[in-house]
Structure formats: C-alpha cells, structure tokens
C-alpha cells in the first residue's frame, strides 16, 4: 500500500530550485517555481525512503561500465 511520503524536514524545495537552476543552465520562470518545487518535494519524499534502506550507500550501483562491450 503506497504511503504518503514526506520530504526531509527543512528541505526548502523552492529555494533549492531557484538556487540550482542556474547551475545546470535551466531557465526557471517565476510562474513555474511552485509546480517545480512541488514535484521536487515529491521526489524528495521518494528519495528519503531510499535513505532508510540499510547500508544503501555502500552498495554497488546497478549500471556498471564494462570496457570493450561496445566493440562488437
């Protein structure tokens, strides 16, 4: 059953979006900020759930580059 996920306390999605957008070359019109922040807050809720998985940070990530695989 899906839980209602909440972003980490103290996460200011609007402030983050405004601050980070120039760093990736993304124009962020003022009228878009609220909706973009709402989406980021939702994603933050999902990401917070991942942080609760034991020893997640030391796990091997899934996509592993294999040298030479493209040479066929």
């Amino acid at each position: 059953m899906p839980r209602n996920l909440t972003p980490p306390p103290g996460f200011d999605a609007e402030g983050y979006a405004r601050a980070a957008a120039p760093a990736i070359g993304l124009p962020l019109p003022e009228e878009a900020v609220a909706e973009v922040a709402a989406n980021l807050a939702r994603t933050a809720g999902f990401a917070a759930l991942l942080a609760d998985v034991p020893e997640i940070d030391t796990a091997e990530p899934a996509p592993v580059f294999r040298a030479g695989e493209g040479e066929r």
Partner: protein, 456 residues
C-alpha cells in the same frame, strides 16, 4: 486476424499482402474515433505490400511475418519523418535518416508498417492523454483511458485494427496499456531488443516492447525482433535461448503487490495463480523502495534528457510534462546514486525469489481503466492518485530488467479488461510466453473490442 494466421495466409497464397494491408488501412480509418493513430503510412505500406506480393509470385521466401500489418508508438524512427515522441519539443528535429532497427527487422521478416501511434508526451505518463495530439480512447469504452504511455499501440490492437504493435516500457508503458486496453503485452529483458532509432526517455530503464492478441503472436514477432544490433551500445545478449520447461514452477508476489486491488484484479491474480499452480506467495521486501528508485531515476534522467530543450524552447513542452521534467533535471546526484544502488539490491532480491519459481505472478495495475481526465480513482475503498498509483505494480519490477508479460481477461464486475504480470528470469522470455499460453487456455482471453460491439 492474428499475426500467425495472417502470415500463414499470405505465405500460402490464400491471401495477398496488398489485400491484407488494404484491410488494415480500412480498419485504421474505422478506428479513427479512438485517436490512436497519429500517422497512417498508407503509401509506404501499399508499396511494401506490392513488393512482397511480387516476391511471393516469383517464388521467393517472403519471411515468417509475411504481410502482417503493424503499428509503432510514434517515438520509433520512420525514415524521412520527424520522430515526434508525442511532443512539440521534437518538432525542429531532423527527419529520421532510416527506420528504427525494430521496424527494419520486422519488415525484413515480411511485416508491413502501417501506422505510428499516439502516446503520452515524451513517454512520461500512464494515461494516454496528450496535450498536442488529443487523448487516446479505450476501445472498450471511449470515456476511459487506454493506459499509457504506449496508448495508441495498445488501443489499435485491442480494436483489432492491427494484429501487432510496438511500444516502449520504462515504468510500465507497455504493461499498463496492455492491461487497461485488454491485449497481450510483453516487456522483454532490459537490453535484449535494440533501442536504436527509438527516441529515448530514461536510458537506464527504457525497453522496446510488443502488443498482440495472443502469446503465440507475441512470440512470432519477438523471434524477428530478437536480433543483434551493433548500433545499440547497451544491447545485452544473454545465454542461448532455452525452450521453456514443461513443468513451470510459479509463485505469487505478496506484500506490496497485494493491495490496493479492485476485486476484478484480485480475482484475476487468484485465477492466474490457480492456473499456474502457484500455491506459494513470495515477498519482494524492497518493492516499495524499488518503486521509489524507479521514480527518482525516471524524473532525473528524463529531465536531463530534455534539459537543452527546456532551456531553448520550454513553450513546446506540454503542461503535463514541462514542470516535471524541470524538477527532474534539478534532482541531486545523491538521490539518483542511491536509486541505482537500490536497483542492484532489488535485482538480487528478485533473483533469489526466482530460484524457487520460474514464474512470479503479480497484478499489472490496481484497477481497470479509469476515466480520461481523472486525477484520482477509488480502488477497493482507497483513493488512488492516478498518475502515481496506476504504475505502482509495474514500476518496481521495471527496475530489475526481467522479462514480463501481461495476460488479460474480462473483469466480472467492471466488464473491463484487467491484467496480470507474468514475471520470468532474465532472458527467459520463452518461459513467460509458455506460462501466458497456459493462462489463455484457462480463460485469459479478450476478443477485439470492435467485434464485441458488432455482436452486442
């Protein structure tokens, strides 16, 4: 008419490719109200059919799929046309130089491309609603969603307009519309089918998939599609295909996959379990986290994929995707890093469950088709947010890359199709299709929607 029957008739000379294609073009016209096709390739299809018939007349081998008309989601490259991916964001792109690999191999096997199909914009959605092209309508009830994002491909097969269609599945975009439109679907093993010439959405998760009326038809088309392509750098070749065992061991996925379920879906899962002798239930404990990881990877990679477009011409993106993609582009690397690590964990956990079961069974969606335009839908007394909820059973599994078929039947209460996911081990598509054939013998069949109307 089925893929197998069409090809047999054309190969034997009982029918011609030209007549088969002409009937498909007429059926596409008749199905126009579904808004499922965005482009009908009539001239190209007629020319191709004429070439095939000439080869057959000369006694040349026309291929195992001779004369089989098929449609593709409009994110597959078609030579000479701009690949739209259901968006205006692509409108300034150069026309495709050649057909997508999947189209080339199907046509090399004798099949004939007849249409490109409607989809959720940039494949980001489960409803088939599109701000530019209009909404795809469910052939079983035009007020309802056909499911998405490969909405038009599923709807055309469900309406009987084409026997075969291609889509893509990132979080469930083949499996959800298969279930909601009532057609058989297959999302093969991640990397197995070439994605060359397919407009990408989420590189880590995109799969090419298929729709048809039966598992046999899916198998016939899959055999042609399953070919090495040096132009796809992530294509993965597994061990040599093995024929499916006679005694498939099956188990049901419980836990996350047990609720919320519309009674029609719960009964379908029950019936599939009984048909496959699945007495055991297995739990994928990381399912909820896997779904979260798929969500994070999707929004982040999708946003990065379209970052240049969002900077240059944001007005060309529809309102259903624009701000989701902007937000995705801003996702911190720490979130996606954990998501990719979770992907490894859940893949390992599913492999452990597959040690004791060749096939795992799970619902495809929590409920049958929902009304177009709906934001929420009640399922078993719970209010489910459609955009987040409809893919809750497909999304965690997509992350593992295993092959998954969808078998469908009519729900007793709703009268609408519902689907069950048939989940195999990596590269064991044969076992998935064998299990689905067994389900078809046990009542998992939906006649084309148009025929139902005719007989009503």
């Amino acid at each position: 008419m089925s893929v197998v029957a069409t090809a047999a008739a054309v190969r034997s000379g009982r029918d011609t490719a030209a007549d088969t294609v002409a009937r498909a073009l007429a059926a596409l016209e008749a199905a126009g109200g579904l808004n499922a096709a965005t482009h009908v390739h009539a001239e190209r299809a007629r020319a191709r059919a004429a070439t095939l018939d000439a080869r057959i007349a000369k006694g040349d081998e026309p291929g195992p799929l001779a004369g089989v008309p098929f449609a593709v989601k409009n994110l597959f490259d078609v030579a000479g046309q701009v690949t739209r991916a259901g968006s205006r964001a692509t409108e300034a792109d150069a026309p495709a130089a050649q057909d997508a690999f999947a189209i080339r191999v199907l046509e090399a096997a004798g099949a004939v491309l007849v249409a490109s199909t409607n989809m959720d914009e940039l494949a980001y959605g489960f409803s088939g609603e599109n701000a530019h092209d209009g909404d795809t309508r469910n052939p079983h009830d035009a007020r309802l969603s056909a499911g998405g994002s490969s909405s038009g491909s599923a709807a055309l097969v469900a309406a009987g307009a084409v026997p075969l269609a291609l889509g893509t599945d990132t979080n469930g975009s083949v499996r959800v519309p298969a279930a909601l439109s009532g057609v058989v679907g297959l999302k093969p093993t991640y990397g197995r089918l070439s994605r060359a010439g397919v407009h990408s959405f989420v590189h880590s998760l995109d799969h090419v998939g298929l729709f048809a009326a039966t598992a046999e038809d899916i198998g016939a088309a899959f055999a042609a599609l399953d070919a090495p392509d040096p132009d796809d750098p992530v294509q993965a070749r597994g061990p040599a295909p093995r024929p499916a065992k006679q005694d498939l061991r099956a188990a049901r996925l419980g836990g996350w996959f047990a609720a919320p379920l519309h009674p029609d879906v719960a009964e379908a899962v029950e019936a599939a379990g009984a048909a496959l002798g699945a007495s055991r239930s297995a739990e994928l404990t990381l399912a909820e986290a896997a779904r979260a990881a798929a969500f994070v990877i999707t929004t982040a990679e999708g946003g990065q994929r379209h970052l240049a477009g969002l900077a240059r011409h944001p007005e060309r993106f529809g309102p259903l995707v624009r701000d989701r993609l902007r937000a995705g582009a801003l996702v911190p690397a720490a979130w996606t890093g954990r998501a990719q690590k979770l992907r490894r964990r859940v893949t390992d956990e599913l492999a452990a469950l597959h040690r004791d079961a060749d096939i795992l069974i799970a619902p495809a969606t929590p409920c049958p088709a929902f009304p177009l335009g709906a934001a929420e839908h009640e399922v078993a007394g719970e209010t489910l947010p459609i955009r987040l909820g409809i893919g809750m059973f497909t999304q965690p599994l997509t992350l593992t890359g295993v092959p998954i078929g969808v078998a469908v039947r009519r729900g007793a209460r709703s009268g609408l199709p519902v689907g069950v996911q048939v989940i195999g081990r990596p590269f064991e598509e044969e076992a998935v299709l064998a299990a689905m054939t067994r389900l078809e013998r046990e009542g998992f069949v939906m006649p084309p929607a148009a025929q139902e109307t005719a007989h009503a």
